[in-house]
Every structure is written in structure tokens, then in C-alpha cells.
Symmetry: none
Subunit: 223 residues, 2 copies
């Protein structure tokens, strides 16, 4: 779940990004409209949070251009003004929701949640499972064969990612991008290391988490 935050006030941006990360989302930040559009254009975000007042390219125009390019990423507008007019303009431009500053973070989170859930049609599962392995995104509990397993943060994020793609191989590049937030392969073997630790904890008999040589890894649904 990756979210783009387009916001010029660095304090607000920093606060929002941090909060989203603490809630388990990956978050990118663009300080102006142009950068935001470029990022939105090149990455497939699950949602965007866009300030209306932005340098270079305002939020409304940004979203209009995004929609013109047939991008349907759900957008939540942020604005200092609370006038009904502004709200209407935002929604007409293709925004999906509207929040006025100052706002409570929990409200922002709730709305983003709703947006993603609506967009993906299927309610955002809080509980992932594959075979006898289960993972709860909210309580952060992981079990194998009914027994609780204690995972470190990185291991947790990686397992969650694998579970989301259970049955299909995921490349190391993908993993680095979504779990480590790296855009480029920094010539490292971190993934191998954490996969190794994950196997020891979650797949001791080596039947669930398979290696696909030259590609990456698969989580086997059967077993």
C-alpha cells in the first residue's frame, strides 16, 4: 500500500508521512505540483493526498491532468479553506474526498482507509493468510500452525508483502522497492538474509517459501 503525499508545508508533510508509515503504509512525498505529477505518473500509488495550494502547479490542476491521463488513483484533497465552493471544485476536478486544515490525523487515516477500500472494491483485508501461516496487519500478530511467531519489523513487512502475492513469484527488485523503499538495487543481499531468517521462523521445513532461481521467491498456497 503506497501513498503519495503532495504538500509544500514541510512540517505537515513530515507529520503525515511519518504517521502513515507508523500505520503500515509506504509513503512518498512531493513538495510541489510538478514533482507530484511526475511521481504520480511514474508510480502506481494506491492513493494520493494532495494539497490544493501548491507552488508551480496547484493541486486541482494536478489531479485534472492526472485524470486526463486516465489515472484513477483515489485522491484526497487537503485545503486551508473550508468553503463549499472549494470543496465542489475539488470534487469536480476528480478528487474523491476533501479535508480542511487543520485536521486530526486519525480522521485523515480513516478517510484514506475508506478511499483505498472503495477503490479496490474488496475491503482491505486486515488479516492475511496462506496455508497454515496467518498475519494480522492491525495487531501485528503472526502465527504458523496455530502457534504465535515473533517477527522483527522488517521480517513482518516482508512476510506481509509475500502473503499479498501468495502463489505468484515476486522478484527481489519488487521486494526491495516495496519492503525496503529502495528505488534502485544497491547491490546488497539484505533480501536473502531476511528471507533466510523468515524461513527459520515461519517455514522450518522449507515447504512454503520457495526460491525461484534468477527471479525471486514464491509463497506456496497449498501444503
Amino acid at each position: 500500500m503506497r501513498i503519495l503525499v503532495v504538500e509544500d508545508d514541510s512540517k505537515i508533510a513530515c507529520f503525515v508521512v511519518r504517521g502513515l508509515k507508523q500505520s503500515g503504509y509506504a509513503a512518498d512525498h512531493a513538495p510541489d505540483g510538478e514533482t507530484g505529477l511526475a511521481l504520480a505518473d511514474s508510480t502506481d500509488y494506491d492513493a494520493m493526498i494532495v494539497d490544493v495550494m501548491l507552488p508551480q502547479l496547484d493541486g486541482i490542476s494536478l489531479v485534472k491532468r492526472l485524470r486526463a491521463a486516465r489515472r484513477v488513483t483515489p485522491v484526497l484533497f487537503l485545503s486551508a479553506k473550508s468553503s463549499v465552493d472549494d470543496r465542489i471544485r475539488g470534487l469536480q476536478a476528480g478528487g474523491d474526498d476533501y479535508l480542511t486544515k487543520p485536521f486530526a490525523f486519525s480522521e485523515l487515516l480513516a478517510r484514506v482507509h475508506a478511499l483505498i477500500r472503495r477503490a479496490s472494491q474488496s475491503p482491505e483485508a486486515t488479516r492475511l493468510a496462506c496455508g497454515d501461516v496467518t498475519l494480522d496487519l492491525v495487531t501485528r500478530e503472526v502465527t504458523r500452525a496455530g502457534k504465535a511467531v515473533d517477527l522483527q519489523p522488517r521480517e513482518f513487512t516482508l512476510l506481509a508483502f509475500l502473503l499479498r502475492h501468495a502463489g505468484r513469484p515476486v522478484s527481489k527488485t519488487m521486494i526491495l522497492e516495496h519492503v525496503w523503499d529502495y528505488s534502485f538495487d544497491p547491490q546488497t543481499n539484505v533480501v536473502d538474509v531476511v528471507i533466510s531468517r523468515l524461513r527459520a521462523k515461519v517455514d522450518p521445513d522449507h515447504t512454503r517459501l520457495e526460491t525461484v532461481r534468477g527471479v525471486g521467491y514464491v509463497l506456496r498456497p497449498h501444503v
Copy 2:
């Protein structure tokens, strides 16, 4: 639990807001009807306390317009007049309760309590518990293993918040928002400090209040 106070007399407003905060509520204040309506429109309050006599837009009209917009937030009217007529007008406009000035703060608090309890259908638990830790929101008594524990206000609010979410991790951002009423992260470590003090008083053997690295804290239900 967030409450909006719409009241033009700044002394009364200040007094009420302070009292609510001390009782563990988050409270906002609007000095006139227009501001009040705008705030009520953009935020999801758990209850509102509205003076009938207000500049710009009187309390009755405010609530009428709120109800017209299908908002069901419970409203308690404040008024200087105690005439039965006024009371009827208020309730007809969509108010849920009515209190005449001057009033005792404890009475206001009791009624707000009742309003929220009624609105949320599930009676607002006055007593929270998790494992051998109990907390009473009304008497402000806290016990651990049957023995009373003396908490400072901040510590009390934080513990109450953790108890409400027992079993699920709560992020520091959330804590700052609900316990400190900060909308933005002021780059501080207050949360850590108060957690530390809370542990010393309520969880000396470090079994109940766990750290979730990079996220926040959990209160463990078992033990």
C-alpha cells in the same frame, strides 16, 4: 471523545473547555454560531454544547441547519432563560438536552456523559480494565493488582487511551493526537517520557506495556 463548545461568553467557554479537558475529553471552542457550524460541519464531534444566545447565528438555528444536513451529533443546549417554552423550542430544533445557566460543572459533565452514552448505544464504559490493571474514568482511580496507583493527569489520559485500545498497537502519532491534542508532531519525545513513567507506576515488571519498534506501544491483555 471530542466535544465542541459553542459559547460567546469567553469566561464560561474557557471554564467549560478546561473542565472537559481535565475530564479526559478533547474540546474545541467556537465563539459564534457561524464558526460553530463550520467546525461542526468539518469535524466529527461526539457531542456539542451550544449556547442558545449567540452572535451571528443563534444556537437553535445552528442545530436546525446541522440536522438538515443529516448530522446526528448529540447536542446539549445552554441558556440563561429557564422558561419551559425555550426548552421546548430547543428540543424541537433537534437538541437532546437542556441546561440553564448558572449550572454546576459536574451536572454538565454528567449530562454530556449520558448524551454520549446514549448516542453510542453501547454505554460508555466508566471503568476500563486490562489484565490486573483497572481505571475508573469517573472517580479517576487506578489500581494494579488490587492496589491503588497514583497517576498524574497526563499519565491518566494516556493509560485510558491505551486501555481503550488494549491488544492493538497504537502509534505515537495517534497518541500525540488523542492524549496531547497535537495535530502535528512537534518533534518531541514526550510520549516516551510519559510511557516511561507509566511503566514505573503501572508495569514495574515490564510485562504489560510493550514497545512495538518503529510503531508505538501495545497493552497486552493477557498476564
